[in-house]
Symmetry: C2
DNA sequence: GGTTCATGCAAATTATTTTCTTGATACGTT
DNA sequence: AACGTATCAAGAAAATAATTTGCATGAACC
């Protein structure tokens, strides 16, 4: 049997998602005939066994289930609901137990799994278990109790979940473009205001100056405007706004774009800030996470900064990286300081 | 049925880990007879099926496998190695395929699974898949390639993994004590130097001042010493050091302790800083994570701060919390500002 | 030389999938 | 409107495959 994608819901790399329109809700435009075509696809899939399915898989089982819901039959909806509600049961149950609980026959369960894009029932369970670790928790806005262990678990889970969602919604191409811009900039201005975004701006500075880039961070609206006005087209302006509604940042972006200065935004997609910037690195997390736990959102933003900084590093020193790491390792091993400065990372 | 703990590896809540000493390596002191006892335990487990497994399980399958390695037979080690190395294969393979690859018979695989505390082979696979999402990546220090998608995945995975490991090593009792101290402090001094730890100090200030606590953060060694000298026994000193070897911070802690001022350290356990502080909140991540990716470590520290701040919040306003959240929600809904200030969180 | 233990074989059990069939629903035709 | 046809869901039963158990063997270690 072949190896499958890290992100749940497998599929063959060759086929691409287009071959399974009804399985990939974002692309499906209408209901089509299932059975025979389905079988062919399964056959296709099976014949593609050698192919690693590492790429192209964006959906996890849960999302697929929710998105497919409308297209499932009554029995299948019952199965989906049981799985969704009592995930722990589903992951440990046999097909017979699950079928029993859903009041359907085992074959119906098998068909259900297939419809969701899984090869078999056990494949389904694996996908489920895999996503489950992080995928399904955001349903509960509150921790189970305020006992320390529960609070800790709640926070950790939400943070992991934020990362999971970030990854899923990540616009890799945009990040790549942003990294290219940054790597080629003569000077970088990093803007962000308020505890959250200013931390991101600082972090950007922290990460990028170590790569030898010229960068300054500012959380002061007036300074931001002045800097935007003073910047040149060979510079880059990068700004962060969690809400996407930082009017001052929008102004700075607008000003910069009028002067043909590249602008990059870390923010919610379709927000004013996003629209004002040339390149947007979208970070879209469900509201709940934002409101109650600023940290999980912040962690997602930090991860974006990290990705960005790593890509810039690779762009600046494409070959030297491995050597650089060795040097760093030595450096770190012989230092006792608290701040482990990283040269090329 | 009910939902279960985030941390992988199931087990019944009732039993507690003590009933399976050989499955929880930290407690196992020597090799013992396996088979019969094992069977009893499995039986126990099975009879406890209705029980939620929310607590008591600290180990994930991978750690168990690594820790048990010494006590496995030749064939079993072969199986373990295959699983450890080619986890993707293992998670998708049938028992026959796995047995084939390890050159053993299927029954041996079943026995192997049981020894690891799983009920059956498929239970093992579920545990595997479950932990896999986060648990197994730190073996690869480098991303698969420097293609943006791989870099992103690598970073996200490492961040999730850092959170996973943090959670596993978390000293909940210590955090609780720290939260109590902070909640009752007349004044709090938050210390940390270098890009990483100073961010944590700032973050602590950010989170705690909103709860109405008096707090100041400093990254200046001289100031830290002076503040430590000026503090009173009703105050609290909290400091962060990623390496645990920030000598200045050790000095500040020592000074404070001589004056009977409570001290809290966020740092590596058993480090000089940890030893100098009264309460240590240990953050122990494998070296690899620290050296190459500062962010994943930072994210773990941020999570600790988050947990701490939440616990303090609950301590300060035990009943008012729910109401407070409602107010917040209103506030947030009607604000357009970027910095979503949280009152009671 | 006996005990313990790992391990494979084969049988038994169990789980899963396939095939076949039925019944329901929707659609088009007369 | 009534009928026939196509489509599809879904279960029963059969077939297949996977997993586990019981037992026997042989190696290693007292």
């Amino acid at each position: 049997m072949n190896r499958m994608a890290a992100i749940a819901c497998h599929g063959s790399g060759e086929m691409g998602t287009n071959d399974k329109p009804h399985l990939c809700p974002r692309q499906s435009t209408g209901a089509g005939g299932f059975d025979k075509i389905e079988m062919d696809r399964v056959a296709d899939y099976v014949s593609n066994v050698g192919e690693p399915a590492t790429k192209g898989r964006l959906m996890d089982i849960f999302t697929t289930m929710q998105d497919e819901r409308g297209r499932l039959s009554q029995s299948e909806i019952r199965i989906a609901d049981i799985v969704l509600n009592d995930f722990e049961f589903a992951v440990n149950a046999s097909i017979i137990e699950l079928a029993g609980k859903a009041d359907v026959s085992p074959p119906t369960v098998t068909r259900f799994c297939r419809r969701l894009g899984c090869e078999s029932f056990s494949d389904f369970k694996v996908q489920l278990a895999r996503t489950a670790y992080v995928g399904m928790r955001y349903l509960k806005p509150e921790p189970k109790s305020i006992a320390p262990a529960d609070v800790a678990q709640d926070i950790i889970t939400k943070a992991q979940n934020a990362l999971f969602l970030l990854h899923r919604g990540l616009d890799v191409a945009a990040i790549e473009r942003a990294a290219n811009r940054l790597a080629g900039a003569e000077m970088i201005y990093a803007f962000g205001s308020g505890g959250n975004s200013s931390m991101i701006a600082t972090e950007l500075q922290n990460r990028l100056f170590r790569l030898g880039l010229r960068i300054t961070a500012s959380s002061d609206h007036s300074m931001q405007l002045m800097m935007a006005a003073a910047a040149k087209p060979t510079d880059v302006l990068i700004g962060s706004s969690f809400s996407g509604r930082n009017a001052e940042l929008v102004r700075a972006f607008t000003l910069a774009r009028e002067a043909k200065i590249p602008t990059i935004a870390l923010t919610q997609s379709n927000s004013p800030v996003a629209q004002a910037a040339e390149i947007t690195l979208p970070v879209d997390l469900p509201e709940g996470d934002n409101i109650y736990r600023p940290t999980s959102t912040r962690i997602a933003y930090l991860a974006v900064v990290d990705i960005l900084a790593s890509l810039v590093a690779y762009r600046i020193q494409p070959q030297a990286t491995v050597t650089l790491r060795r040097i760093k390792q030595q450096l770190v091993a012989h230092r006792d300081g608290d701040d482990r400065q990283l040269l090329g990372d």
